[in-house]
Symmetry: C2
Subunit: 486 residues, 2 copies
């Protein structure tokens, strides 16, 4: 048996087999094209090359190619060599992608930055430089905490922009908030921790994931001042996960008094605070709020992400952990995936150090502020909401509807009208009841569309007053994806 | 209180505070520089800009800057603006990185491709194109299975090069073998599975990780024909993880008879086979071996990785799973990190589709074959090994030493002599005894160094014959990192 590997087409010729050599070669190529192993357009090796690899005479290969060409399987052209023909059976592996995503006329999905604002050129340049200039060590297996240069850059950035007390050795890079929580929670479980508080309302997927890891999840109510520390104290939680700068989805800002009380709670109980700082860089008028981490650096695990700052497609996040926890998190990161892409991390480090992130955020803040102002003006013009919350920062607002409006029906009818909106219920753990509300993200929607979208939404809400039955709501399309993702 | 956010330096001015406005500004800037929140070289906003943000008169900011300049904290230059001075205290966050990695004269660490061979230009180009041309959808949250185009490209490549039966919808991209195992094992645990077989000798870190997830790990012996299926059948395992094409570290190739038996075992018991196809693309003379997956596609979970083909720094891997398992793996991927970087995946898809991977592998195969030949020639010239195993493929060989040689002492003394080698014991689960052996990786060592390195190793082995005490071995540097990583 002699086999060819050279062009990564797996062919094997057996001189003891009953079939002719040409027949074997033809048959294997034909089968490879029929099953899609060789896709249409694929360049075949030259007859000389293939003959050499298989230790066949070139004539045998030439004859096989001629036969396959005659059958229409392959096409030869001067200059571009021999290729699998377009009319060869479309391989099973090339089926068109299913597109399950419903398309909406207007999309108020929260938690998404505007794709148009992604700084393609700057990011492409940083990626390119990283790939061209990475050292041999950087091309090996990574430090599970992440590239040293990137951690230094992030520590500096977080210190000046978020007042985070961060030494680079305490930074652990990860692939976003979701992985940060997975790493942290798994360390907790291995250390025997069992009770974790989360915000109610909040990010429902988080509770599900923590539950599956074996943690007991304790929802603690959020009001206008953020998470209620008295209820946290009573809950018996050993840790809490919260977003103090801009709570999701209410937009509440944790008050100064509660910050102090939360820090004291963590110190007295030896508890952990996980600070989810997902969109704090986008603040439009209120005073900037330093990260909570600075108030209790020994008890706070700070989590940031590029998902809102740049794009969720990058899967770049960072954890700043107190020293006693860093080693355990780094080891867990090593166990679960050995670390993140060094190239991506080097690119991020450069993007931050060269001031490109500052420049990008400055531009984005202007654009998002204009979009938010347009949204607030439209909400006021079309007048169907009782209150707008969380408008000082971030990429979404929460609006309260009149008490008599059926939230579930509004969401269902809005979607039927081509408007993607999410109701407050989508963020309440355990199906708890709440006043009717909508969460309106303005990250993904174009500024010019906002007024028309709000007008359409106003019409839907008006139709969904207290009068009608709730029948329509039952038909609601429940197949939509989760309300928000990090 | 009025605060500036514009250049991402967090400053707050309180008009009710007892200190002057200028004093407040100066004090906060001074503190930021002293603590490293503002690092040396950082550009400060212009006086006009800062004054506007803080709603101060420009004169106040000018005076504060002049005072700080007089103290040597900041430096103003025409054209390049005002910067934090170099002689300002080196911030705590800028400490030089520790370099814990010992340096060796010659490095036989297995499992590492040669960094010099990384196709920087081609990869940089693919990354750049991906960032410049990603669609708005691709810049959103990713499909947890990975970018569609990348999955189509991989399915085609695996079909033609590895004879893997793969539909793109059954491909789940991940960040390497380690994450693939984490995802698979967590799905198994949630489905109530408990007993998993691994190869003995094998990759010890794997057993530890599986154990921590709550799985019972059953080591099954590997001989010259690969994993022994009779012992697997007796073990009561519900799944097995193995590398049939080139076992790690013995280099054994699973024989045809055992392939058939293993596939039958999986079908009869409804068991899972995880095929670790980590370096099968590097085969130098033996017949190419199609992936085992093709023999039992309904029971095999195929795992591949770019770590050996390109670089472990990319953290790119792929799983091809039977249809009943794909959904669960995709959901698990979504839970643990929401999916991989779309940009990296798009780049990989293009790299594969444009034939750049084929070209790269062709070049690498030639280079590695030459290096392997040099290694084999040197081993034969310096004549201190009884047998060389696994030389037909991959990036390492395993060599048996004479029975009377103390393996532990050889490893320790070699390291003292600047040679990084790993002994067979590093790959045996549970401290089982074995004949003295070394694993020699030739991926990372330069071709020109090989002969000198083997000569030095021969001298060490000669010194470590049966005559001496084993005392030296006890002093062995046990702080080195794990023997191999994926």
């Amino acid at each position: 048996v002699r086999a060819a590997w050279s062009t990564d087409i797996l062919l094997a010729i057996d001189r003891e087999a009953p079939h002719t050599l040409r027949g074997q070669l033809e048959g294997q190529l034909r089968e490879a094209m029929a099953t899609g192993r060789l896709a249409a357009g694929t360049v075949l090796p030259s007859t000389r090359e293939l003959a050499a690899c298989l230790e066949l005479s070139r004539g045998v290969v030439v004859e096989a190619y001629e036969q396959l060409a005659a059958e229409g399987w392959i096409v030869s052209k001067r200059g571009s060599g021999t290729r699998v023909a377009k009319r060869a059976r479309v391989p099973a592996t090339a089926e068109p992608p299913q597109s399950p995503a419903a398309t909406y006329r207007f999309d108020f999905k929260p938690g998404l930055p505007h794709a148009e604002s992604f700084p393609r050129r700057a990011w492409a340049g940083c990626l390119r430089d990283a790939a061209l200039h990475a050292t041999a060590a950087q091309l090996g297996y990574p430090d599970p905490r992440g590239d040293e240069g990137a951690r230094v850059a992030l520590a500096r950035y977080l210190a000046r922009a978020r007042a985070v007390v961060a030494h680079p050795s305490c930074v652990v890079m990860c692939s976003g908030f979701t992985q940060a929580i997975d790493l942290i929670a798994r360390v907790w479980v291995e250390r025997g921790m069992s009770r974790v508080a989360i915000e109610q309302p909040g990010f429902v997927g988080l509770a599900t994931h923590l539950n599956r890891l074996g943690l007991q999840v304790l929802p603690v109510p959020v009001d206008r001042e953020g998470l209620d520390p008295r209820q946290l104290e009573r809950s018996g939680a050993q840790a809490v996960i919260l977003a103090p700068a801009h709570q999701f989805p209410t937009g509440a800002v944790l008050s100064a008094a509660r910050r102090v009380r939360l820090a004291a709670w963590a110190r007295e109980r030896g508890a952990w605070i996980v600070e989810d700082d997902y969109d704090a860089e986008f603040r439009y008028e209120a005073e900037p709020l330093p990260a909570l981490q600075g108030s209790a650096p020994g008890h706070t695990i700070y989590v940031g992400t590029a998902s809102k700052l740049l794009s969720p497609a990058l899967r770049l996040g960072w954890v700043v952990a107190p020293e006693p926890l860093v080693g355990a998190l780094a080891l867990m990161k090593r166990r679960v995936d050995r670390g993140g892409s060094s190239i991506d991390q080097i690119a991020l480090g450069r993007f931050v150090e060269d001031g490109l992130l500052d420049r990008h955020l400055k531009r984005c803040r202007g654009a998002y502020r204009r979009r938010r102002d347009t949204l607030l003006a439209a909400l006021s013009r079309w007048g169907f909401v009782d209150e707008v919350m969380g408008a000082a920062a971030g990429l979404h607002v929460m609006v309260r509807l009149r008490r008599d409006v059926d939230e579930e029906r509004v969401v269902a009818e809005a979607r039927r009208a081509g408007l993607r909106v999410f109701g407050g219920a989508a963020y309440r753990q355990g199906g708890v009841a709440g006043a009717p509300a909508l969460v309106l993200g303005y990250g993904a929607i174009a500024e010019n569309d906002i007024d028309a979208a709000v007008a359409a939404l106003a019409a839907v809400v008006r139709r969904c007053g207290a009068d009608d039955a709730r029948a329509a709501a039952r038909e609601a399309d429940s197949s939509d994806d989760v309300a928000v993702c990090r």
